[in-house]
Amino acid sequence: MAITSIKNLKEFSTNNDRFEGAHLLCPGCAHSMIVRELMNCTDDNLVISSNTGCLEVSTAVYPYTSWDTSWIHIGFENSATAVTGAEAMYKARKRKGTLKDPDAPVKFVAFGGDGSTYDIGFQWLSGAMERGHDFTYICLDNENYANTGGQRSSATPIGAHTSTAQAGTHSYGKKQKKKDIVSIMAAHGSPYVAQLAPNKWKSMAKGFQKALETEGPCFINTVSACTTEWKFDPKDTIHVTDLATDSLMFPIYEIIDGHELNILYRPKNIIKVEDYLGAQGRYKHLFKPENKHVIERIQSDIDKNWTMLQRREEAKI
């Protein structure tokens, strides 16, 4: 397959974008940074599906499409099924010789937000992963139902304020921990699973390329900072993502074949999670004295998780 060189950014920038402007995503949205990078990671033809969500409602509103490749949307829950249906058809037609260009290289990619990945499309994703199709699923994880105005999902971290898990006089926001989707996907026996972030463009590009190159169902959770619902200035998308990765709120790592964990980014200076939380309006209430325990809890969870990831890496499990 035609994998693009990602030696350095200058070289990477010679790629011709296949994701067009005048889509309707918010200014500063990380979704399109991630989608652009995925599409720039390969020269192969792409068949892409999207679940209902910010990406979908912003890139295919009749009479416009922002996609220069084949693209399909069916519903909120079934992008994994849509693209694996197409992948099955590709195999059948290749065998029967009915493809227009049987030698044209193609990759199958599904996108979903965290709502569709962690929640409503969880079963469809799980089914597609188990069936072993050759495709890559990319979750654009902005930790809430941003498309419908910022409701909690099972990807929303504990303590975050959302419209359906509100912070108030009797509440510190969401009470439940975020679902560990990466482990769940690794437990499917997927050959390649990773958590990546757009601020670390090179590790993200490498991870995307690995997933595209690896035969079988691959899953990548990407951190997609949401200027609108996380409540930060649109210009700060990369800055907030830096804080996410450097506080280890979003550790960057991969799991190969379900049992080989590699950490892909080790912050030189690990920052306190307060710095990350403090940069976003959705965590503002946590800085009240009565909610101090929530920040302590978040920091403690991060520390334990980081220890676990490092131990798994050392033990090669």
Partner: protein, 151 residues
Amino acid sequence: MSITGSAIGTDKRGIRELGGEEKLGWDEVEQGVVLSSFDGSTENAAFLKPEEREYSDFNSYTATVASWRIIKPVYNRDICIDCQNCWVWCPDTSIISRDKQMLGIDYDHCKGCGVCVEVCPTNPKSLLMFNEASDNDAELAGWPVKEKKEK
């Protein structure tokens, strides 16, 4: 729609506002709501620069979101080191780079988020945000000088 300094593009770039397209009758809309990205037959767009593509009227490339902008980035070629940070992180495919060189901003598709300015590593920055109504040449003439790092 293009304004000075928008570098290269095709004749079709940003030729209309979203929603400004002709509203067709039921007999003229596309069967199955299918939208083709290009007119006629095309090579894989990965091998075509935008100016080499036959964009169809359905491609959002032909629309503009310039009216979303309140502030705009202005690009100063004299300082730029072509690091391509702005290119890789632009959420609106609005940094025009060709052959490893940053050429300018696509003002038809830029929404003015300011990410490009934040990720610009030069000192002074090669991209700065200004009021949408301001004059690019005037802003370039008054570009700030190198800041000394505070110790």
